[in-house]
């Protein structure tokens, strides 16, 4: 582990129950990060999505990819990130290839496509056991509070 939850919280404005990154396990300069999300069986969304057949909602998988991307942005633009801006998703092109279940360990990878001070584009993917379960191209804005 390279970053623990404390370090992650120092960069991301998200908090439980909406913080989806548990660890950062790889950092390749400012080009790529790999993070981990542990899907605990007790997560509240599993109760309703779906009763008797719990799977992680796709929108939350996208949220995990977006949070990993915000971490990557903070590495590329530390002077912007230190002001603790808000991150807003603007456009998502996504593909879901397999479900994520309680107990899964999501490997969330984000690669830089283009970063500016007020906007960013990343290519992201999520794996479970080396199998890609989701891919997305994200465009998000960064706004000072």
């Amino acid at each position: 582990m390279i970053w623990d939850k404390i370090k992650i919280k120092s960069v991301l404005p998200h908090r439980d129950p909406f913080l989806f990154i548990d660890e950062v396990i790889e950092i390749d300069g400012t080009d790529r990060v790999v993070a981990v999300t542990y899907l605990k069986e007790a997560e509240s969304y599993f109760k309703g999505h779906f009763p008797g057949n719990p799977v992680m909602p796709g929108v939350l998988i996208i949220e995990a990819m977006a949070q990993a991307s915000a971490i990557l942005f903070s590495l590329d633009r530390p002077e912007v990130a230190k002001e603790h801006p808000d991150y807003y998703l603007g456009k998502v092109k996504s593909e879901f290839l397999a479900p994520a279940y309680p107990g899964d360990k999501l490997i969330v990878e984000s690669k830089k496509v283009k970063f500016l001070d007020n906007a960013a584009i990343t290519d992201t993917l999520v794996k479970v056991d080396d199998r890609i379960i989701a891919k997305a191209n994200l465009i998000f804005s960064i706004k000072k509070r």
Binding site: G90, K91, V113, K114, L116, D117, N118, A119, A120, I121, I139, F140, S141
Partner: protein
């Protein structure tokens, strides 16, 4: 300046902004007239960079405010990238 290149850029901008090609006149201001925001701006910049294999420095982006300026700015870079 090649008319084909200008048309190519106009079509690209039209696709990204999802507005008719006719509205993207050479002097229509991206921000004031076409109402683009930071998300659309970065999308356009990234699309140019990918298609023409060029890098547009961040400090130059605010200076490129209409189609005419895009063509004038990117044409020399495009030429360099192919030499």
């Amino acid at each position: 300046m090649s008319k084909n290149y200008e048309e190519e850029i106009r079509n690209m901008v039209s696709d990204i902004l999802e507005i008719p090609v006719e509205e993207i006149t050479p002097d229509a201001d991206f921000f004031r007239d076409l109402k683009i925001d930071s998300l659309k701006a970065i999308e356009i910049v990234a699309a140019f960079e990918k298609k023409y294999r060029i890098i547009i420095p961040e400090q130059d982006i605010p200076k490129i405010r209409n189609l005419r300026q895009v063509v004038e700015y990117t044409a020399p870079l495009k030429k360099e990238s192919h030499t």
